[in-house]
Subunit: 208 residues, 4 copies
């Protein structure tokens, strides 16, 4: 009836299971992907020139596409990281919770950029807010991998070093690209917004 001091107790196992990390996260990613569309809406009097009104929403489609691909990429990276872990710990749980918060908040800056990308005076704030949010997500997922892989802290023994390096090379360059796109967005907001999409598409092609 007493716990064996050699093996972890039920609570300790619950605390270190990676499944705990994956279940909730997959749910949040799936929902974030799917609620993005709820933020796209036509103006009230759109019926008179519907084709025109639908085409005018290009900013919302651009923002939708970029956010969808970005969340998809985060999900792929998250799955790859989780697949390399042998266990998790409290710090990892907190990094993960931060990542989920950043991802599940993304629909708000997405809507902002979609709504205001064509409004003179407002488009800069909207695109910059969006870009900074993508950068924060990118930093967090790269940091999550750094934490797990640093000194092989949480990794399963059979992950070879060159795969660790590959994953590091895959996650970290995005930081520079996002910083560059944010700088561009300060000067030409719409070009910065387009670059965010290019970064996501490129990352999707690079990743296997």
């Amino acid at each position: 009836m007493n716990a064996d001091p050699q093996r972890p107790s039920a609570l300790e196992r619950a605390r270190t299971r990676t499944a705990r990390l994956e279940g909730l996260s997959d749910g949040v990613f799936a929902i974030a992907l799917t609620v993005l569309v709820l933020e796209i809406a036509l103006p009230p009097a759109a019926g008179r020139h519907l084709l025109h009104a639908v085409l005018e929403l290009w900013g919302a489609y651009l923002a939708y596409l970029t956010s969808f691909l970005t969340i998809g990429l985060v999900w792929i990276a998250h799955h790859t990281i989780a697949g390399a872990l042998s266990r998790t710990d409290g710090a990892m749980m907190r990094i993960n919770l931060l990542l989920l918060m950043l991802v599940s908040f993304l629909p708000f800056p997405t809507k902002l950029m979609g709504d205001y990308i064509r409004t003179p005076g407002a488009e800069r704030v909207a695109v910059l807010f969006y870009g900074v949010w993508l950068l924060l997500i990118s930093i967090t997922i790269a940091g999550m991998w750094r934490y797990a892989a640093g000194g092989r802290r949480l990794l399963t023994p059979d992950v070879p070093q060159d795969e660790i390096d590959t994953l590091t090379r895959m996650l970290e360059p995005d930081l520079g690209f996002y910083a560059g796109a944010i700088l561009l967005a300060v000067i030409v907001p719409q070009a910065g917004a387009a670059l965010f999409l290019v970064i996501a598409v490129t990352a999707l092609i690079r990743r296997r």
Copy 2:
């Protein structure tokens, strides 16, 4: 500590597991099915003639029903395909991400068709947008099967050839039906919309 060159590493396994494909996809399908209803809304002053206002929303119900059944069918096809796979690869992951994007965006054309099917001048654009979206979904799921089954690329060895042919015959005819319904919708939008529902119901009866 070094990986056995004969067997795939942890990262490689994470990359080819079909569970990776199924978990997120089921989440997206379930959410897309459930958020469709959030797009149905009564006009503000509906209270005075509520029964009339509720009945006037028939376009929204038609669009809801068609989209719900279509996503249900995509989910059944997706599960059948996933059940036949022994592994996945990068191209499959990208086709799957495209399918999820098309499905999770469907609430927008659904709302559009529901809102504008009775608005002269706008109903044609709304129904055509909706129909083209259904066709894109249909092409993508048929293409996903083609890719997986072509030369038995990703299939488990025990799938017999006649089952492959059956699934192909089940997925591909929809393309022709949708193309026909879209043509009809150019001429008589409401008849095209009704035909989209007929296609979904028929497919549900045909599929076992």
Copy 3:
């Protein structure tokens, strides 16, 4: 490479696995439970008398509570049924899809009843629509069990007859109660609405 005629092929197994039924359904139930709250909204000028405005929404809370408990009950019944199945078939899949459609549409009649229960002239339509929807859900889940248990069609062999009878006795009386509450709602809509809640609470107490 050829399938053993004695054992089901991969596609046939995918078609009859009960997990297929449970995964998507649990997702839909969880989401339907959670999106109910999104339909509750204060009127725009609520800030001046917030306490009053919050209390005035009692109709929405009543509808929320009834729908939440009803979906919870459907989920418990669904899980119990799924736990008794050894396999599923095409008809079962269609009954299940119908159940999911009825459940995921429930937020709309819920909102209708919550919004119009205090509007003279509209409250009868709103409460009746809601009650009929609950009755349809109740009929479908009872019918699902009837189909599965009839002649032990889809059951695992180890389910004893008295448990089958218990489950039947648990699912079917609700039909009569809902029919009674709908009749009451024709005469006194608000009393009918209260009775819907009483039925759900009673069923939750009766079920183990």
Copy 4:
């Protein structure tokens, strides 16, 4: 064909499986985390001074952050409790359903606090409603653990007594903190709101 009286039948097993408790709950937690953002919206004419309008929403961000962290904490506690259970029972299912209802309703008081925290006369009601809701959630999760751990009613035998005590110590102090913050909110609503966030952040640091 007859059930072995020594071992539980299929229905009895379905009734006591803890997986039944976990599956739906994880879905509800993930969705509640993700729909919170849908309640944040800019006023219609925000475009002219977008930066100002975005910053003015600080109340909504504060409410979002507090609710997100609180649901995250509930999820961690729920997982820890579920990991310690050997079985569940009817009372546990009902406590769990109550917890899910409180959590999935949280977006409404969250929106209320976010919208009215800066409205003189309304901010007290909004913050108190929110705080009482957090307290109810906190009582329910602590009560769930009390019920499961009382006399080791539902626990696996290998959970050592000191871990039971640790979990009790982790869950119960929050009740006092929330009561204190609610009292503060009666006098200075905005300080009470800030304290709710402090409680969540502190709990996240304390928990491993």
